[in-house]
Amino acid sequence: MGNQRTAIAGEPVVRISTLAPRQKFPGALARNAPAYLFLLPWFIGFFGLTLGPALVSLFLSFTDYNLLQPPHLVGLDNYARIATGDDKFISSMKVTLFYVICSVPLKLVFALAVALLLNRGIKGLPVYRAIFYLPSLLGSSVAIAVLWRQLFDSDGVVNTILWQFGIEGPSWISNPNYSLYTLIVLAIWQFGSPMIIFLAGLRQIPIDMYEAASLDGASKTRIFFKITLPLLTPVIFFNAVVQTIDAFKAFTPAYVISSGTGGPIDSTLFYTLYLYQEGFGYFRMGYAAALAWILVIIIAVFTAFSFLSARYWVHYDE
């Protein structure tokens, strides 16, 4: 054990290995064994439930597999069909991209705007913060999806309120032109969790920067664009990446609102819902594995682009 702590970077090195001189090989074993024992559950999970399955699903994506017969190799057929002849793939991709592109920026703008308002030292901050945070905590449950379906029903609350203003609202859920918007509104309603992160980020901006700027006579707009926003870019970046990945993975609301169909006319067919239908509705496991790998690639490309772009707009302090 004594050798373990000898070379941790940046720490004062205290050698007590003289107390327990060991031969090289058992020494190495004794040094490493405890750590690997601590990591044993993680290793089993990593190889057995993450890395192994990921590789198997890569293999399955080149096969035709229905759980009953053993998988047989079909080469690139699955990917070829996805690329050329799968209308549902196209429509699910469109629906998902539209959902991501609309819901993420709007959610972040709301989160930032409310965080800025709350950060003005107003009274009752904990109460407001709690109220705005609550929906994002409840939002992913089936109960909320069920509730949403009723709110936007043809004779639901939304239309009742619109009717009082003399507007005849459409049947939001069953009209393919509007159904996806109800899911976008549901996502924006849950802006609480990025808002909390923005609030914490705003509090980390050193107060003397504001004092110096206002002594220099800078206007509030200028202070916002020259101090607040640049110093907040790491947090904006984090929220944008996390929220985008989450939006790509959204499943429950679309499933519940469309009763698992992705309808009407595939208007709420999220990519994950399509993957679920292929894999667990039709048991086309090979095809679903290919769909999953395409999702991984899309998310990876998006993440890589975000990190590449980050060096141009994200302000990191030295």
């Binding site: 993680w42 999970g45 399955p53 089936v142 069920v146 705003l202 790998w293």
Partner: protein
């Protein structure tokens, strides 16, 4: 995170004036209006659970003309299986998941944060990499694995992975916290001849209760709300969780029993709401740390 100890941007910029007082009133008005919009759906659902069947739709009112709690009894009985069974199933899965996550993730986090071993940086990078990996890519082989093991239609596929530290987010959260604990404490223990296990158990864990509680709370919430996992692995209605029970309630009663559905929907949110009430600070600090300390 204490609200009182932080000065804010506004304090530094503006001295209190008539104009700023008006502005403050305007801000409060906007925030109160926003609060109403945010809470309206939830209160409407709660009100709907005690409203008369035909009073739910066609009115935006939040106040029922009379309170009828029979919907809770009707809903609780469910269609084939009582909601009591669904709640019990959800509770079992959630509690086991909490235990599994806290144990396995703290073990791994301790090794990453405190022990020096061959390949540490390599494994740590791989662990962080799994944070980004969408679960869809492991979904199908995992399903096949659990099918081969005969675990499908039991709780095992939902619980066992939690004991194997598959949720890297919690490892990450705990590593961050462990690194903040002064090293002198475990060095002193090591001088006294304590084993790594004793340092983990007697020094680190007692000092890490906040992060362990945060991990436990998020584990509970995410497992409680999980719909996808139970949807895939549980097909016998006797094993349904609350989320699946609600879905089947919608499917089987259709549009006939709205107040019963709203009653059970509201009940299904009660555990989440209680956790929110009692552990809000831990939740908020948990998210804020995850967002800031990368």
């Amino acid at each position: 995170m204490s609200d009182a100890t932080f000065a804010t941007a506004a304090d530094a910029i503006e001295p209190p004036t008539e104009r700023s007082r008006l502005l403050s009133i305007a801000i409060h008005t906007a925030l109160i209006a926003a609060s109403i919009v945010m809470l309206y759906p939830l209160i409407w659902m709660l009100a709907g659970s005690v409203k008369d069947q035909n009073e739910i739709f066609g009115t935006a009112s939040l106040v029922p003309s009379h309170f009828d709690f029979s919907s809770y009894i009707r809903g609780w009985e469910g269609t084939q299986v009582s909601f009591g069974k669904f709640f019990w199933n959800s509770l079992v899965i959630a509690v086991l998941s909490v235990i599994g996550n806290v144990m396995s993730c703290s073990l791994a986090a301790f090794a990453f944060a405190r022990l020096k071993f061959w390949g540490r940086n390599f494994w740590f990078a791989l662990m962080l990499g799994t944070l980004m990996l969408p679960y869809h890519v492991t979904l199908i082989p995992q399903y096949i694995l659990f099918l081969e093991l005969g675990w499908v239609k039991t709780f095992l596929p939902l619980v066992v992975p939690k004991f194997l530290a598959v949720d890297a987010f919690f490892i990450f959260l705990m590593v961050q916290f462990f690194r903040g604990i002064p090293r002198e404490l475990d060095e002193a223990a090591m001088m006294d001849g304590c084993s790594a296990w004793r340092i983990y158990w007697k020094v680190m864990l007692p000092l890490s209760l906040p992060v362990l509680a945060t991990a436990a709370i998020f584990s509970f919430l995410w497992t409680w709300d999980d719909f996808f996992g139970p949807l895939i692995y549980l097909s016998d209605i006797n094993t349904y969780t609350v989320q699946l029970g609600l879905r089947s309630f919608v499917d089987s009663t259709g549009s006939s029993d709205w107040s019963g559905l709203f009653a059970m929907s509201s009940l299904s949110l009660v555990p989440v709401f209680l956790i929110f009430l009692f552990f809000q600070r831990l939740l908020i600090e948990g998210i804020a740390t995850a967002g800031l300390k990368r």
